[in-house]
């Protein structure tokens, strides 16, 4: 029983990582109705910038804030310069562009910052969390930060006119333009905000997994799974989905099939759930009009 609890706790810690990336994916999906495969690499690159600043003497929070600004600018720039020309291109061409972006940013991270792992500081106390040695205080802190970001996103889309305009721009660009929403800038803004959320995810993840060019590559996959499992149009669902994926993976590895098939079984279960509930556990079911 105790062992079971430990598995669940460490699953929640990993799930927190997935949840934070899932949020970035939800952000960009809400804003552009696209899933950006390069999201994870952008987050890694931003985290490297933070590392570089801290390494050269900046205080943590100053580096944190500057990195958010950097990530926002990079997000907006990528949308304006690289993604913008594909506004009318077929979906799969856009996917190919995202794959290209992923390869470019991943390769640059390695070429600029080398491949040896880098320790990344945590803003939280370094001792184990007093409730249990199985969650470090950083992991608890990260879960807290993720929930805060979640609340911010929720409030942003729900209560601010800008959030509403962004959702409208993604949902129905033509009508939005007619009512005066500047659709182009809404999309760019969505990229910028998603970049920022990704940077937060990166800076929260790096103290746990160490910073290297591949840090977010697999996290993105499970974050994607979490987002879809919870419902990609629902930030609450996405976060919950991330936690479920983390715990599910641990339990599958520890009790079902052993670690060699852990990933396979976790994915089979996720896909199985989606087959039964095709729009995710908490997603809106979309009714198609003829």
């Amino acid at each position: 029983m105790l062992a079971f609890l430990h598995q669940v706790l460490s699953g929640l810690a990993t799930g927190g990582i997935y949840a934070s990336v899932a949020l970035a994916l939800v952000m960009i999906y809400q804003a552009t109705h696209q899933v950006n495969f390069a999201q994870g690499e952008m987050a890694t690159f931003s985290t490297y910038m933070a590392w570089k600043m801290i390494d050269s003497g900046f205080p943590y929070w100053a580096a944190f804030l500057l990195t958010l600004v950097f990530a926002f600018v990079v997000g907006v720039t990528i949308e304006r310069v690289i993604v913008r020309p594909f506004y009318k291109a077929p979906v799969l061409s856009v996917v190919a562009v995202f794959i290209g972006l992923l390869l470019i940013i991943n390769s640059l991270s390695g070429a600029i910052f080398d491949y040896t792992i880098k320790p990344f500081p945590s803003p939280f106390p370094s001792d184990a969390w007093y409730g249990s040695p199985y969650l470090s205080s950083h992991e608890v802190g990260m879960i807290f930060v993720t929930l805060m970001v979640l609340a911010l996103i929720f409030a942003f889309f729900r209560f601010t006119p800008l959030g509403l305009a962004m959702r409208a721009a993604a949902e129905n660009p033509v009508s939005s333009r007619l009512v005066g929403v500047r659709v182009g800038w809404m999309l760019a803004l969505g990229w910028g905000l998603a970049g920022m959320i990704g940077a937060v995810a990166g800076m929260m993840t790096a103290p746990i997994v160490y910073l290297d060019p591949y840090m977010m590559f697999s996290v993105l996959l499970y974050g994607f799974a979490g987002a879809l499992l919870g419902g990609i149009d629902n930030p609450w669902g996405a976060v919950l989905g991330g936690f479920i994926v983390g715990v599910l993976q641990n339990l599958a590895g520890a009790y079902v099939v052993g670690t060699e098939l852990m990933v396979t079984v976790a994915l089979v279960i996720i896909v199985g759930i989606l087959v039964i509930k095709p729009s995710g556990l908490f997603g809106r079911t979309i009714v198609t009009r003829v």
């Binding site: 062992a3 460490s10 520890a254």
Partner: protein, 401 residues
């Protein structure tokens, strides 16, 4: 049939290559030796690409110093993306298009397996392959293929024998990467523990390189009652393991693969005090261990890096590896005495006698013979004291050959 085919291909090649090639020494002209190499510059293993870069710089240095026996080295290193199908293609390009004399230090166990048969059929040396698998000393079936570093399996066997001696009632747990690297440690432990394996190893837990963390595996191993942990993980996961084991208040006797004993990229990220008591076995000097701060051998390497790889990451042990294996190659070329035919290069590669490298531990010598294709087969146990690795016991050789 097959033989005739190769002959035909070889003939066609010679015809294509024209007069630049002496019939008895392909890839060698009066002024130049062409050496081929495959590396994962792209793809999932691109972190190892630095080995190729280090080697390219090394041969540049050799050329600036006048080359070998009046020959400049044309080192052609190409990307295989760690995909064996691509390695096959690139190896054939090197041999058939570029006309290299032989292949030196191609990286990766699957990649080398994919080209081993082709190269042996054509009698092209495949020298000092960059993999820690055990099978690269099979001089009977593959006389043109030779390994370099001690195999992972030998290393695991050393741990097994140490455990049998020091802690015969150990409850062993293994944490391994789910690929050929990790599974070689299971095989080595089986070799060393023999029929006691089933009784002593109470839990095996694997992780995938795509897993973000190994927390669940560590918790599983602790929960199973393991008191002796053998970890076969790459640096990122090794550092995570050391930290997690410590943080959950677990204090097993912990053996760490020598792939992940770098002070700068494993011990320091994990927390130097959290690793105290860790045991490993080593053959090379770690560039970031204070023990070798003023070591003349390592300073030789540092001078090389300063001049030919300015700005490179000096904490990356792959550069030390590249330097050491290239020095071995240089020694073979020197021993060739101007006869760079494939036969002679292979003969000299299998004729290293007590060769010493500045980058390996004192007392470890490289030896090869026509019936010994494992140049380095010795290692020494070492323990982490919180600041540096302390060697103990005598230089050991694995029983596996």
């Amino acid at each position: 049939m097959r033989f005739r085919t190769s002959l035909l291909t070889a003939a066609a090649l010679l015809a294509l290559a024209g007069p630049a090639f002496a019939a008895d020494a392909p890839g060698v002209t009066a002024t130049e030796i062409k050496i081929g190499n495959t590396m994962p510059y792209s793809g999932p293993a691109s972190a190892y690409g630095v080995i190729g870069k280090g080697e390219t710089a090394f041969w540049k240095m050799v050329n600036e110093q006048g080359g070998v026996a009046g020959h400049k080295i044309d080192f052609i290193s190409v990307d295989d993306g760690y995909n064996p199908a691509k390695t096959v293609e690139q190896a054939r390009r090197l041999v058939e298009q570029d006309g290299v004399a032989f292949l030196f230090n191609p990286l990766g166990t699957p990649s080398n397996t994919a080209i081993e048969k082709y190269l042996n059929q054509k009698k092209i040396p495949q020298l000092f392959v960059a993999t820690g698998a055990d099978k690269w000393g099979n001089y009977k079936d593959f006389p043109w293929t030779i390994g370099w570093q001690p195999s992972y399996r030998t290393e695991a066997e050393i741990y097994a024998r140490y455990i049998l001696q020091e802690k015969p009632n150990a409850k062993i747990g293994v944490l391994y990467q789910n690929d050929d690297f990790g599974k070689d440690y299971l095989a080595g432990l089986k070799d060393g523990l023999g029929d006691k394996y089933a009784k002593m190893v109470i839990k095996e837990a694997s992780y995938e390189v795509t897993d973000p963390t190994i927390d669940s595996q560590v918790v599983t191993l602790q929960g199973a009652g393991v008191d002796t942990l053998v970890t076969a993980a790459t640096p990122k996961f090794a550092a995570q393991t050391i930290r997690k084991v410590y943080d959950i208040g677990w204090r097993p006797l912990h053996f760490m693969t020598n792939v992940s004993i770098s002070v700068a990229s494993v011990m320091e990220p994990a927390g130097v005090e959290k690793a105290v008591g860790l045991i490993s076995a080593s053959y090379g000097k770690d560039p970031t261990d204070p023990t070798w701060k003023d070591d003349p051998g390592m300073n030789q390497w540092r001078d090389f890096m300063k001049k030919y790889m300015p700005g490179a990451d000096l904490a990356d042990a792959s550069y030390v590896y590249a330097y050491g294996v290239s020095l071995t190659m240089l020694q073979v070329l020197k021993q060739c005495n101007g006869d760079f035919s494939r036969e002679n290069v292979m003969k000299q590669a299998a004729n290293l006698k007590d060769f010493e490298l500045p980058t390996v531990l004192p007392g470890i010598k490289l030896n090869t013979s026509p019936t010994n294709y494992h140049p380095i087969r010795q290692m020494q146990l070492e323990k982490w004291n919180g600041k540096t690795w302390v060697l103990f016991g005598k230089v050991l050789g694995g029983a596996g050959s």
